[in-house]
């Protein structure tokens, strides 16, 4: 086995370990929290009282208009100056969740809006209340349209979690940096790191296609339910 391949092989376990223990949980948790935040923000934008709408618009404006890296630094290195101290992982989680929340709120608002008004009326006409209509009629249709844009956000997030390295979270990229600094082989290590990220996002893209098929069953021209 050539040296470069041996180095890659030997560093695979620590990199994968960092991926499974830090990158994946950080990604999934941030996406779950961010999506919930985005959903609530979208509902406020669509149906909320004026002052709340203003708060949400301000939040989205602020998060989308400033670099993620700066936000992470503010949370982890800045807030301790005013007595708010987070461990690295929670700090990263908060930063990513706020970010995902801002971006997905716009997507969710748009897809809920995209479901024809007549679908609300049909739901109301058979006696549903607002919550039932939203849950049973509007959201399933909105979800189908939302899968591609939300998948985009999700795949970006997997890669963005590498920024957590600067908050000392020992995720994939930080593990790679550590190994590169003792082996002096940055080209090999960072190539391997890139491949690992590529692997992770490919798996998730495949999952996205499954979701699209699932939500889009009724768009097929033939046949009954799966």
């Amino acid at each position: 086995m050539p040296d470069w391949l041996k180095l890659m092989w030997d560093s695979l376990p620590p990199l994968l370990y960092a991926g499974v223990v830090f990158t994946v949980p950080l990604t999934l948790l941030s996406f779950a929290c961010g999506l919930s935040l985005g959903f609530v923000s979208a509902l406020i934008r669509l149906y909320g009282a004026r002052p709340l709408v203003a708060v949400v618009r301000f939040y989205v404006w602020l998060i989308r208009g400033t670099p993620l890296l700066v936000q992470l630094f503010l949370i982890f290195y800045g807030l301790p100056k005013v007595g708010i101290v987070f461990d690295p992982f929670p700090a990263a989680l908060i930063g990513f969740s706020l970010n995902i929340g801002a971006y997905t709120s716009e997507v969710i608002r748009a897809v809920i809006d995209a479901v024809p008004k007549g679908q609300w009326e049909a739901a109301y006409s058979i006696g549903m209340n607002w919550t039932q209509a939203m849950r049973r009629t509007i959201l399933p249709q909105a979800a189908r349209i939302a899968v591609p844009p939300l998948s985009n956000t999700f795949i970006s997030l997997i890669k963005d979690t590498s920024l957590a390295a600067v908050l000392t979270v020992p995720e994939i990229f930080q593990a790679a940096q550590r190994i590169a600094s003792v082996t002096y082989e940055p080209l090999i290590l960072y190539t391997e790191t890139a491949l690992i990220y590529l692997l992770f996002s490919s798996v998730l893209s495949a999952l996205q296609q499954k979701l699209e098929v699932y939500f889009g069953q009724h768009m097929q021209r033939t046949g009954g339910p799966a």
């Binding site: 024809p116 007549g118 679908q119 009326e121 049909a122 739901a123 109301y124 006409s125 058979i126 006696g127 549903m128 209340n129 039932q132 049973r136 009629t137 399933p140 249709q141 189908r144 939500f215 069953q217 009724h218 768009m219 097929q220 021209r221 033939t222 009954g224 339910p225």
Partner: protein, 252 residues
Amino acid sequence: MIRLSAIDKYFGEHHVLKGVDLTIAEGSVTALIGPSGSGKSTLLRCVNLLEQPQAGRVVVGDTSIEFNGSGRPDRLALQALRRQTGMVFQNFQLFPHRTVLENVMEGLLTVQKWSRTRARERALELLCKVGMEHKADAWPNTLSGGQQQRVAIARALAPSPRVLLCDEPTSALDPELSGEVVEVLRQLAREGMTMLMATHDLRLAASIANEVVFLENGALIESGTPQRIFKSPSHPRTAEFVSTLQGVVEPG
């Protein structure tokens, strides 16, 4: 019995319904006719309060809701009223993410909290009635317009409403397809289903309604049997409107 009293409805500055009174007897079929923008659709949608009037009273069966411009109606009363009405829309509005059978079962499961077995049984029964049981497992977008509208009728009938509201039920269909929908509605009328429909399809109005109501500019101009309204209207505006439709179809 369905009763609308002194209904006033504005869209912004536009006065769409001007103190309209309408009473519909149990078991009767009433057709609302009139030019576009006369308010017939809006009046129909006031019955299940998809449009809420600024003033007036809406009574469906044992539920009565009064509007006086202050606030929204009580949610439970609104719910109770809607559960006594079924509605058929011009462009069907089936739930595209549910099969034909699921569309009909939806209200029974979600609103009436029936068991799946019981809801399924009832839904299949209704699909038979409208001649769509062979498509029970199909997706709505694989059906013709006439088939979709028949499924929509079954969905509206599922919770056994006191009145079936039809908003231009045949307007999105070509004559051939509208025939099959008219046939289903005629059968329901024969069985004593109370119906209120907004339509400019004279064949529909003339062949199954026993009361025709002519509206213009948000006011009720004249009402009577189809024979009287179409053959010998007493109001000149009714006569003028009916004459524009002459030759389109010969009322029976």
